[in-house]
């Protein structure tokens, strides 16, 4: 019995990481309905960026965030305004194909630059420490931190969207990009900010990812799929939903992994498909 409870807890903690993967994607879906196929590869890119910063400055991975977050924000803003903004506007093919192309470019550029060897970010012990709750259940300090950050981020994003003028601009731009210009909102700039924030979140997710497991240039697509599944399971339009979706996915994978190591990812996919079949709008969609 305690074995299943442990599985559940580990699943929830894993879900925190998946929720972090998914937050940026959820933001982009919400503001500009853009499906960024390169999202996972950008997470991997950010992890390598953190690696470079750590090697160059001697900062720990969490310290490296001070550099990585702004750099990824600027990269996101530039990417959106320099390339992706030109693909928006009705047809779904251009953004899909351009981000697909980006995905291939990033993966292969990383392969060329870093080789296929798996790498990792090290925290010097903290990542392996844990609380022992008795009955053989332990809760890692680090996964708990990740979950905590995911919860805080969901809260912050909800606040951003609901309260401050930029959040109103985000919602209005996603409703009607032409009318919003009449309010003095520069939609191109808003899209840039949204992508910038999304990639800033990606930077945080990437550092936690790189600490938790090893990473390699071709890991991007799986991260994208997990992020995507988390968003769809949770329901579009709500960051709390995305958090919940990540947790559900994490638990599903943990259960599958416990049944048979080859089944871990597969049960996650089944959970996703089940939601699609029985509750297509997700578990906690925001009705708009």
């Amino acid at each position: 019995m305690s074995g299943w409870l442990d599985t559940l807890i580990q699943g929830v903690l894993l879900g925190g990481l998946y929720a972090l993967f998914a937050m940026g994607l959820s933001l982009i879906f919400g503001v500009m309905r853009l499906v960024n196929i390169a999202h996972g590869d950008l997470i991997v890119l950010a992890a390598y960026l953190a690696l470079v910063v750590v090697d160059a400055t001697g900062l720990g991975p969490l310290g490296a965030l001070v550099i990585c977050v702004p750099v990824m924000f600027l990269l996101g803003y530039a990417l959106q305004r320099g390339l992706l903004n030109f693909t928006l506007g009705g047809d779904i093919l251009p953004p899909l194909l351009v981000t697909f192309g980006l995905s291939i470019i990033i993966q292969n550029a990383l392969l060329q630059g870093f080789s296929a060897d798996p790498r990792a970010l090290r925290l010097g012990g903290f990542e392996t420490g844990s609380f022992h709750l008795g009955a053989g259940i332990s809760v890692g300090y680090f996964p708990l931190l990740v979950l905590g950050v995911a919860v805080a981020l969901a809260f912050a994003l909800e606040l951003l969207f609901a309260r401050i003028p930029l959040g109103r601009a985000f919602r209005a731009t996603s409703d009607d990009p032409e009318a919003v210009q009449l309010m003095g909102v520069n939609d191109q700039h808003v899209y840039g900010l949204a992508m910038g924030i999304a990639l800033a979140i990606v930077a945080v997710a990437a550092v936690f990812y790189g600490i938790r497991t090893t990473f390699a240039p071709t890991d991007g697509p799986d991260r994208l799929l997990f992020a995507f599944e988390a968003v769809i399971i949770g329901g579009l339009g709500s960051f709390w939903g995305t958090l919940a979706g990540g947790i559900v996915l994490g638990v599903a994978q943990a259960v599958g992994f416990r049944l048979d190591p080859g089944w871990g990812v597969l049960t996650g996919h089944f959970a996703f498909l089940a939601v699609l079949l029985f509750r297509p709008t997700g578990l906690f969609p925001r009705t708009r």
């Binding site: 109103r168 601009a169 919602r171 409703d175 210009q181 009449l182 309010m183």
Partner: protein
């Protein structure tokens, strides 16, 4: 305050406007009428920056603003109440009004003033904008434009889809707006209403100004002739 000079506009290869000259002064209400396809919407889009045009073709407060992006033109003080209102469904009534003030332009219009002008909105402030009646939506759209503290307010086809008594309530609000020195440019389908409400009017026909003059001096026959291009 606003003047256009030989304003031309194209949609791709298709020419929609063939040299429009008009002007609007502070405190005036100027109407534009014309059949569908005459170019009224295109004219407004060219003035507000949604359609590009030659820089000198539109002058506002002495500056050449033609071709500038729409969000910059709002910053200069030109606000539009768009055709069909185009309130944002994801935002509540109050949030729509607040968005109008995104550029934080200085001026007398605040949430409080807007609610004074349109008391019906005050009760509905937290409601999603889609839950309002047509007339209330029109008032919200006007309020949202006023929140930008414009010097020029453009109203596009406000009477569309509204009952006569509601149209009257909406248009009754305009004179107090003009009295503050704001210039008003309105596009109206209802010719009689346009002539009653405005001091001057222009009639467009196939992308050109077919008639211009003081509203009270123009006769119905003159207007019909210009409207239909007879």
């Amino acid at each position: 305050m606003l003047s256009t000079h030989n304003l031309t506009a194209f949609y791709g290869d298709f020419q929609a406007l063939f040299g429009i000259d008009l002007e609007v002064n502070a405190g005036e209400i100027v109407a534009i009428i014309g059949a569908n396809g005459a170019g009224k919407s295109t004219l407004l889009k060219a003035i507000t920056g949604l359609v590009s045009t030659h820089s000198e073709a539109v002058r506002f407060m002495g500056e050449a603003i033609g071709g500038r992006p729409a969000h910059r033109i709002l910053s200069l003080g030109v606000a539009m109440v768009p055709e069909g209102r185009r309130l944002f469904p994801s935002l509540s009534v109050e949030e729509n009004l607040q968005l109008g003030a995104y550029r934080k332009r200085a001026g007398p219009w605040t949430l409080g003033r807007v609610y004074e002008l349109f008391p019906a909105l005050s009760e509905k402030r937290r409601v999603p904008s889609t839950a309002l009646s047509g007339g209330q939506q029109q008032m919200a759209a006007i309020g949202r434009a006023l929140m930008a503290n414009p010097k020029l307010l453009i109203c596009d086809e406000m009477s569309l889809g509204l009952a006569p008594i509601v149209i009257k309530a909406v248009y009754d609000a305009l004179p107090s707006v003009a009295a503050q020195g704001i210039a008003l440019l309105i596009v109206e389908q209802d010719v009689g209403l346009a002539m009653r409400v405005s001091q001057r009017l222009y009639c467009l026909q196939e992308g050109r100004v077919a008639l211009a003059g003081r509203s009270q001096d123009l006769t119905r026959q003159q207007v019909s002739a210009a409207y239909f291009g007879v």
